[in-house]
């Protein structure tokens, strides 16, 4: 009898422990058994991109391989196979690929994408300009070089967005370090960096047929070391503004930037200083999310050292990261943490946003960082975030980079894929430095997914369109993902957690042309496609 009691007690303990873990790492199980073959400095980006290449409703993903081959992983209903060759993407071998960001730039219903690459020939990789990959009927990709528009420089990330509201999505290319010097004191000791950076580029889409480079004309030829950006309608005036993060800000003097779109004028106004979005830091990624459910978008900004969580109010960015213990400044003492992708999503579909941060050491001259820097996960518990990293199943001590969030197995919750680059540190001895697929094992509550499609004078991707959900008195705003996380892009389906509710009570779509679409009583656990013409249909799931 006693033995039996002990047995059940142990079983209960085991069950409690099992339930406590939110994620299981399943990369081998689902066929993504990829180990990055190089070292960190060959792959500064490590971007990932969710893309449904064949419109079968099972989102695939693209993995950027640095100087080594990048991979298209095709989703076969929850498991993946390498379809790089099948889709003609092995033609990208030789490119030093940092990130990939998708958009249907010609509005033909198939998702295209751009790769951003280090093309200056620094150290490794070929001297090549970024390339547009045009999706040919969901069966293959055609390579369209941008060499006639932009020179082969070191592009680190990109953002899509129809900033001139002409119905065709435009492209902002972030340019990184042209040359890097070392600042020494009088004794010769290295005390800082002396980076010189290339200017960013802006490509204006001409009806999906060609592009024109116009960064200088629009005042967006920023000369900082650009590493992350986002077109987002911050001031809710119906045009896309731009948030830009610069790396090495402390050394270049170029801080982060908030460029307000002056549409219909052909200009952006630099409001970085007046708005308080001018930190001179090591900007890594932007993660939007209405974390406080007040009906507007907030932005999580990652860094080497202190991260920021900005609310936007009265034309000012107000940092609340420290107040919420989300700043992640140090791993210990004065040793700074290195955060790459900080992304909000609803882990258990209880209606609020939780936060995942990919962490990963990089061989830095300064500041002092550590290899013992593990991923972080914070559960949103009302007004507080609870650090559940150690019990969540994601706290790997590896060098993580880009991250994507999507429901790859259609089991009704959102999963995480995080790229890992290989570092030569002895502390990693014996560890599998491989890509991580964290399957969400939480018993998630009810949800609704909404995919927006622009028609007529709106770009098909509907980047910048927002949905405001009102559920039991709570207001939750989301915007379509046109590139978030570090050189990455997650699902474009907007998921809303319903908790125990069986219906989404009310949702309003705000299109960039000023029109709205009202939705109500959407049934739980389904994905809907909503067009700007007001057509709503349930998507096979």
């Amino acid at each position: 009898m006693i033995k039996r009691s002990i047995y059940f007690f142990v079983l209960l303990l085991f069950s409690a422990e099992t339930q406590a873990q939110n994620f299981s790492e399943v990369s081998n199980e689902i066929g993504v058994d990829y180990i990055y073959p190089g070292n960190d400095f060959q792959m500064a980006g490590g971007g990932l991109m969710v893309i449904d290449v064949n419109n079968d409703g099972w989102e695939d993903f693209y993995q950027c391989g640095g100087v080594f081959p990048s991979k298209l992983w095709l989703n076969n209903k929850g498991t993946f196979s390498d379809a790089t060759h099948e889709y003609g993407l092995d033609l990208l071998e030789g490119y030093f690929i940092q990130g990939a960001i998708g958009a249907d730039y010609n509005n033909d219903g198939f998702q295209d994408f751009v790769i951003v690459n280090f093309g200056s020939g620094l150290g490794m990789g070929d001297k090549k300009s970024p390339v547009l990959l045009k999706n040919i009927n969901g069966k293959s990709f055609e390579l369209i070089s941008l060499e006639n528009l932009v020179p082969p420089e070191d592009y680190a990330s990109a953002s899509w967005g129809d900033f001139n509201n002409d119905g065709h999505v435009d492209l902002y290319l972030l340019n990184y370090v042209a040359s890097m010097g070392v600042l020494q004191d009088s004794t010769g000791k290295e005390i800082g960096y002396l980076p010189i950076c290339f200017e960013n580029r802006l490509l204006l889409n001409q009806k999906g047929e060609k592009f024109i480079e116009c960064a200088e004309e629009y005042g967006l030829n920023d000369g900082g070391c650009g590493l992350a950006s986002s077109f987002t309608d911050i001031d809710n005036d119906g045009d896309l503004d731009l948030l830009l993060l610069n790396d090495f800000g402390e050394w270049t003097g170029e801080g982060n930037k908030f460029y307000r779109n002056d549409y219909p004028l052909k200009s952006f106004s630099d409001l970085s200083d007046s708005s308080g979005f001018n930190q001179k830091m090591y900007g890594m990624s932007i993660g939007p999310g209405d974390y406080d459910l007040d009906g507007d978008i907030d932005y999580y900004i990652t860094n080497i050292g202190r991260n920021y969580l900005f609310e936007f109010s009265d034309n000012r960015f107000i940092d609340v990261a420290k107040k919420l213990n989300l700043d992640e400044s140090f791993v210990y003492d004065s040793v700074r943490s290195t955060s790459w992708s900080g992304l909000f999503f609803d882990l258990e579909f209880d209606g609020d946003l939780d936060l995942f941060i990919s962490q990963g050491n990089i061989a830095t001259l300064i500041p002092k960082t550590t290899i013992l820097d593990s991923n972080k996960f914070f559960l949103n518990e009302g007004r507080n975030f609870k650090d559940v990293s150690n019990s969540s199943g994601i706290a790997d001590v590896l060098s993580h980079r880009g991250t994507i969030i999507f429901d790859y197995d259609h089991d009704g919750d959102l999963d995480i894929i995080s790229s890992v680059v290989k570092l030569p540190w002895g502390a990693y001895a014996g560890r599998e430095q491989k890509i991580k697929v964290y399957r969400n094992d939480t018993k998630a509550a009810n949800w609704v997914g909404i995919k927006l499609v622009g028609k007529g004078k709106l770009c098909r991707d509907a980047f910048g369109a927002k949905i405001l959900v009102e559920q039991n008195g709570i207001r939750h705003m989301k915007e379509v993902d046109a590139g978030t996380g570090h050189a990455s892009q997650s699902t474009r389906i907007l998921y809303f957690g319903l908790g125990k509710d069986s219906k989404l009570q009310k949702a309003t779509v705000f299109w960039l042309d000023g029109r709205t679409t009202e939705l109500s009583n959407l049934k739980k656990n389904r994905v809907y496609e909503v067009t700007s013409k007001g057509k709503v249909r349930q998507v096979d799931w």
């Binding site: 500064a44 040359s179 010769g188 002396l194 061989a363 290989k422 002895g426 599998e432």
Partner: protein, 440 residues
Amino acid sequence: MKKALLISTILLFNFVLLAQKNESVSSEIKDDCLLVHRQWLEEAYILTKNTVGFTAPVSGRAYSYLAIGMYESTVEITPELQSIHSQLDGYDRNTWNDNELDYRLVANSVDYELIQYLYRAMPQSNRERVVSIVDSIENKYAKDCSKKVRKNSIAYGKKLAIEILEWSKKDGGDTGFRNNFPEEFEPPYCPSCWIKTVPGYLPSLLPYWGENKQMLKESNVTTDSCVVFEFSEDSSSFMYHEAMRVLENSKLKDPEYEIIAEYWDDGAGYSGTPTGHFFTIANQIAGQQNLKLDQAMELYVKLGVAVNEAFIAAFRLKYKYNFIRPITYIHRLIDSKFNTRIASPPFPEFPSGHSFQSGAATEIMKSIFGDSLTIVDSTNIDRVDIDGTPRTFSSFTEMSEEVSISRLYGGIHFLKSLDESLKYGRKIGKYVATELKCRK
């Protein structure tokens, strides 16, 4: 007393009989032994790529002990060769055969034991692969012998390997893979001194490696007179002229420079490192030339020892001179926008490790094959991150010269350093080729 004498006589008689029997092992068995060794060498290449911390010197060391183990494991069935244990500083071989053995299983056992220790930081997936290899080779040959012979062969191999590993632990490099970048090391600061460089800003790699014990006691003497050229910031100086050569080469558009620089870069973490590259070449030649076991063993062991000696000597001198990399000098004095074609490694410039290593390795090959063999190197044929098209050379000398000059093309070495380094690398190779006596 008489009884003791009788027993000794019987034992000696048995030993002589056994020795004769071992020496008369069939050529098929010997060929199989060579196949076993070659399979493990191919595995070592994969492990060198995948195991954290296997930088060039660390890999050179691992290959050298592996090659010695291979050699000693089958020396008893190659009557042309003698054990080299007494020539290697501190290696005292006490394990000798007094049983009937299957030497294919001995070879497999020695190679496995050495690999699983030397590459003990390998990821789990590689560990599983290594275990599957040792099992499959064992099962393949075990059916040809009794259970007792199988057991004795594996045990003998293990004992031999352990003896080599115990010896290896005393050289100073046993945990090098874990401590490539010792935190306590502070590089000196001076105008001519090396500092961290783009793109990785990695700290000093293996600053104490030069203190490791060399395998041949007098190896260091060969490089005692290797001296760096004079540093100067004067634009009319030889140093400045050398820097200008690097800068001017970097501006040349011919893609061949980049192809050659990348081909021989052999960086840690994504290649077999220079040692893995040269062992692969040796393996290719062994196959093409249909080398017999004794010939291949001599090639591998001399290559292993020479490469290890070369890296120890190179790193001893690197941290003696702490010489500045071209990128630092050029950024500081000539052109702040200069970029190299390949990444500058995280350690001082002089001498060139690649030139030392390739000079030493090719001298070993020349001592065995002469210098008129055509070499087609297909080591990188499967790599897609670089142009891995096989490269052909009409001699080992030509090959070593390309390896050396590739570092100028890469933008990471001065030409004068390369010329000097290649010269001294060859001295090391000649020394090992002459002094390490394998043949009876």
